[in-house]
């Protein structure tokens, strides 16, 4: 049986230092004047800057964790990386080439190489298709399945995701929650991606099932050398899976560091507040010491540093001027005016 290799030699040429995917000043806004409004008719909808000026890169085999609360733009970012949404400003480069410049076959291939795994398998799958067809559909359309080998191809990808190929006849509603999430992952793997973008992929699962899926994702990474972006609100999951972590707040990156560095030496006050809530059980009754205030609305973001209304260290400058993301240590970026004081 000919199963295509998960690394595509003709795309992934270049040095080890080269990024698989690189975001350069990427922004995405929604709303604003539509066609009618531009003619002076109607008022248009307010503009939401969901993601603002985000830059980072992922190397081959790296797992990048993105953490943040509601409205921080993490899901919008995931959709842009997976090629589902286009940025309104900035550029996404796939192996050094701007995604927007890739057309035709090349563009299609690049989009296929970054696959998305969604949180809710119910809304991500056609409930009227059987499991085997859900996995087979996309690779067949893209001509990835050698003639007459569909069953073997599907079985191979079922096994990769830890599913019994005998479940191929079932409909999604006949599977358990864990099996459905594995099916979504099998479907993503079936088009031989280089990169997985997992948006809260284990958030809805029970802890014992979540542990099984996390173990499977770690195995897959070893087996297939997959690059991945893992989005979660659960710091425990992020800490466990990621090589590097990006912390977002209201559309902007506030901190970016390797996982050990971030968890041992968090720089940004928001990161420090988040780490206080790291889910762990150490037998001690830790009090809940929450940071004050609500998450601001992305429709009406505070001026200056978006975190200043909740920040215990906010100064006059924080209210006026948004801090830039600057290095505080080797490979460790943080966006906070406090770093200028030291």
């Amino acid at each position: 049986m000919a199963i295509p290799e998960h690394r595509d030699a003709d795309i992934s040429s270049g040095s080890a230092e080269q990024f698989v995917i690189e975001l350069c000043g990427v922004s995405r806004s929604f709303g604003g004047p539509g066609a009618l409004e531009r003619l002076g008719l109607g008022r248009g909808s307010p503009v939401i800057h969901a993601v603002r000026d985000v830059s980072f890169g992922l190397r081959q085999g790296e797992v990048l964790g993105i953490v943040g609360e509601s409205g921080c733009g993490k899901s919008t970012l995931a959709r842009m990386v997976a090629g589902i949404l286009k940025p309104t400003a900035g550029e996404i480069r796939w192996h050094g080439k701007p995604l927007s410049s890739l057309r035709g076959r090349e563009g299609k291939a690049a989009r296929l190489k970054a696959q998305m795994v969604f949180q809710n398998p119910w809304s991500a799958m056609n409930p009227r298709l059987r499991a085997a067809e859900i996995v087979a559909e996309a690779p067949r359309i893209h001509g990835l399945i050698p003639r007459g080998e569909q069953d073997a191809y599907v079985a191979h990808h079922f096994l990769l995701a830890g599913l019994d190929p005998a479940l191929g006849d079932r409909y999604p509603h006949q599977l358990s929650g864990g099996q459905r999430q594995r099916l979504v992952i099998a479907r993503a793997l079936a088009v031989v991606p280089e990169m997985l973008v997992c948006d809260e992929a284990v958030a809805a699962l029970d802890v014992s099932i979540q542990a099984q899926i996390l173990n499977m994702l770690m195995d897959l990474r070893e087996k297939l050398d997959l690059t991945s972006m893992f989005i979660s609100h659960d710091l425990g999951v992020i800490e466990h899976l990621s090589d590097r972590v990006v912390v977002m707040y209201l559309g902007r990156v506030v901190e970016n560091a390797e996982v050990a560095e971030l968890f041992e030496r968090p720089n940004h006050p928001y990161t420090r507040a988040l780490l206080e809530e790291l889910p762990r059980i150490d037998g001690e009754r830790r009090p809940f010491a929450a940071i004050e205030g609500e998450l601001p609305s992305p429709l009406n973001p505070p001026p200056g540093c978006a975190f200043h209304p909740r920040c215990p260290f906010a100064m006059e400058r924080c209210r006026r001027e948004a801090p830039a993301l600057l290095p505080v240590a080797s490979g460790h970026l943080s966006a906070c005016h406090l770093n200028d004081m030291a």
């Binding site: 609360e69 509601s70 014992s208 770690m218 800490e239 059980i281």
Partner: protein
Amino acid sequence: MHTAPAAARLVPVLTVEDLTTVFPTPRGLVKAVDGLSFSVGAGRVMGLVGESGSGKSVTGYSIMGLVEPPGHIAGGRILFAGRDLVRQSRTEMRSLRGRAIAMIFQDPAMTLNPVLRISTQMVEAIRAHEKIPRAEAWKRSRDALGLVGIPSPDERMSAYPHEFSGGMRQRVAIAIALLHRPSLIIADEPTTALDVTIQSQILARMQLLMKQYDMAMIWISHDLSVVSRLCDDIAVMYAGRLVETGLADRVIAHPRHPYTRGLIDSLPSRARRGERLRQIEGMMPEPLDLPEGCVFSNRCPRADAACRANPVMSVSTYGAWQWRCVHPLNEGPVHGHS
């Protein structure tokens, strides 16, 4: 489990004895809760922990008298304020609900009417149980909003539920639950859907209020890390049965039941970064297809013929700590095992 339950160090506010709640289905009778016993003391928080299908929410609904027919309580007693709730009439239950026992749901939309102002809903909730003037009810409602940490409660009283953020909406639901100073609050995953910093704010507030008013609370949750910080006592459920109960910090530090241990070990923070997590193999059995004997035996690494042969009915006791297991884990801290 007929011995004195773990939480009963103070006079229990609520004692559940041998509770069995069933749902008839075309394929057979599902025992969603099977022979459950526990109690909750005043000023104490009992964490009722389990995964989906463990029966933890049905337990909450059973206490509230809110089990949807054809489901019903098939056996056992629920003792509260000198009465057995299982034998109360609908009218009697209605006068208790919201007054003496209140429930907070995961989704505040279940508690709040979307087309009525908060003030209308709160005043109504008070006057349903107490005939006091509207103005007085309004004042008491506003004070309740302030108590749960809603800024400028006077103005917020006239807002509609959609004008609040998710976290603020949950605070409103909590304020409504607190209106009558109930002696028991049942909280069914009330902070699961909230962002971590907001969850922490609400938990801090809850903790304070519990102590201040000496209320008893049942905190239903799948999140052991929250339970370990919030709860005094813990009861772990699996497939409708209680598998382990005791003081929360002791049970979490040295679990005796292999399922409790498995749940704790499944948390990413229990393993070293990047290491494989110690997972529980398999999944929860179908409610109509439970294994013989111990319900956890088909997933348990310690299970042998003794677990499957005779139904495990006995409970070993060590002080107020109880577990339902033939081969309990016994020594050493959780971190120490290989």
